[in-house]
């Protein structure tokens, strides 16, 4: 298939994207299932015991992927919101709206699994450290975005206002990322960085990366699913929805 011949612009309309999203969802769910199965196997059966933290470190295999994905989803959400503002594209706003609940879920998971890891290692469920605080702010930003969107009656106005909020607040993401460098934190520094060799065993790194990719595929599948629901909810006056319902 010649990719250049496909009219990609066509997919910026909800009616064209709706069936495409439906086709993509099972693939992303399958990728997520396979990668998480391998990832969990590495996490529990292949990765060795940590010489300092014993078995407690295994929380890393859900904690770090959740935290990474919580930031990646925010960036994706802000990017779609930005596209929406720049191109006045309804589907872009819907993409942003579809990502928010999953982003909030992973932020919540990063905070709770971090807390479950912090208790045995630091002796505290929670500390007001820069990394933890900025991640907590991320959760409030997701909640703020969703509340703002649902609080405004007029959909167009809700899209625009919440998009501006999402774009402006994206500044928090680099703050989370660099917080361990900029401030003295109890939270450990980056275990993996682009500039130097990872400070962890190869197999642990692989487990973490596979789990991250699994969460990533899961997030895409779930966001597309939610997007399909949003399209039906928001386009209920449009004729194509009724045509589609008759067909299905």
């Amino acid at each position: 298939m010649n990719l250049m011949k496909i009219n990609w612009y066509r997919y910026s309309s909800p009616s064209a994207f709706y069936p495409l999203a439906g086709k993509l969802i099972p693939y992303f769910f399958s990728i997520a299932a396979v990668l998480s199965a391998i990832g969990l196997y590495l996490s529990f059966f292949v990765a060795p015991t940590d010489f300092q933290q014993g078995e407690a470190y295994r929380i890393i295999f859900v904690h770090v992927p959740s935290a990474w994905i919580s930031m990646i989803i925010y960036l994706a959400m802000a990017t779609w919101a930005g596209f929406g503002l720049a191109l006045n594209a309804k589907l872009s706003y819907m993409m942003a709206q579809a990502l928010a609940p999953t982003g909030a879920m992973f932020t919540f998971l990063a905070l709770v699994t971090g807390s479950l890891w912090g208790k045995p290692m630091w002796g505290a469920w929670w500390v007001w450290d820069a990394r933890l605080t900025s991640e907590l702010i991320l959760l409030f930003l997701y909640i703020g975005y969703m509340t703002l969107h649902s609080a405004i009656e007029d959909t167009k106005k809700a899209d625009r206002t919440s998009a501006i909020f999402a774009v402006v607040c994206a500044i928090n993401v680099p703050i989370i990322y660099f917080s361990v460098k900029w401030w003295n934190t109890l939270h450990q520094g980056a275990s993996v960085s682009l500039t130097k060799a990872p400070a962890m065993a190869f197999i642990m790194l692989w487990g973490m990366l596979l789990m991250t990719l699994a969460f990533w595929a899961y997030s895409i599948a779930v966001a597309l699913w939610r997007l399909r629901c949003l399209i039906v909810e928001r386009e209920r006056e449009a004729l194509w929805i009724n045509d589609l319902r008759e067909k299905e």
Binding site: F45, A56, C229
Partner: protein
């Protein structure tokens, strides 16, 4: 490369089972709830109840 000597050793996670299992369990639980919510939302939409 199996390094667990028994099922019990696996379950207790070297004394950290109380922290390790809830971390994984909660993650799975949240995903299941999210999937369940989406599937019921879709069913509701397909039946046309909200329209």
């Amino acid at each position: 490369m199996m390094h667990w000597n028994s099922v019990e050793a696996f379950l207790t996670m070297g004394g950290y089972g109380f922290y390790v299992w809830p971390s994984f369990g909660l993650t799975a639980f949240c995903c299941i709830v999210e999937l369940w919510q989406l599937s019921s939302r879709q069913k509701k939409l397909a039946s046309g109840k909200t329209i």
